[in-house]
Amino acid sequence: MSTKTNIIQPNRQLIRPCTVVYGVLVVLTLVTWSIGRAGLGGLWVSLLVLGFALFKAQLVGDWFMGLRDIRGIWRWVVVIWLAVPGSLITLAFAFSHGG
């Protein structure tokens, strides 16, 4: 029934792509956490942290949900979704820091 190419190639590779993605997600999470721990703040730091978050969510959409293998509008649902809170949050933080 399912004709899609696998998200992950079965055991042929030494390390599965999804495992690499998982590693990236963990590292970015630790970076975000360290920024919080260091008490860093301000517009640009916040936007950097937000950027990490959007990128991470995008990785989950592409690699874990498997949207990267889809064509058409559904390929982009997560990207489109992320753009909404992403831009609104950016706007709101720009307000509070700039205005």
Partner: protein
Amino acid sequence: MRGILMDTVVRHEQARPGYPPGDLAIWIFILAELLVFAIFFAAYAFARSGQAELFNHYQATLNRDTALFNTLALLTSSYFVVRGVVAAREGNNALCARWLWAAVAMGGLFLVIKASEYADHFAAGVSLSSNTFYMFYLSLTFFHFMHVILGMVILAAVAVKAGRDGYSPDDHTGVETGASYWHMVDMVWLILFPLVYVMR
């Protein structure tokens, strides 16, 4: 079987599918859920811009370390789910069930950690009416908390079916349906964590 509109689409064997993995109905549901969270996030950000001092002050009272562990728990569970889907696709139901149960366990860990955080807050007398920051913090995390529970129920149901050898390489839409929902729960937390715990 695959989705509501599937039969209207002519699918070529080689072509990349035009629909995401899992039942299309769950994706309509996921979209609606994502919309709620997006609105909630934006509301948080705009409410914050009016009271940045207050938000920064109370944000500092949250436990960022437990939130880190919770993020790792969800990421790991999502990873397990991916492996479960691979196993189902390769026809290995027993392995699929094991990965999914491991994912459910990670979800359980999330719930325990989060519940202990709540216990601390309530012991400190924090409530929805304390201030706007706590209102958002409690609302957002609790709404997400409920989604973790729902996601675990779905994953458990799929795991049980996999345990009974209920899927095959040709027909494992159920696994993908549960997986898609769970990844959504994870993905939302990936935004929630920095927004509420870190960004200031």
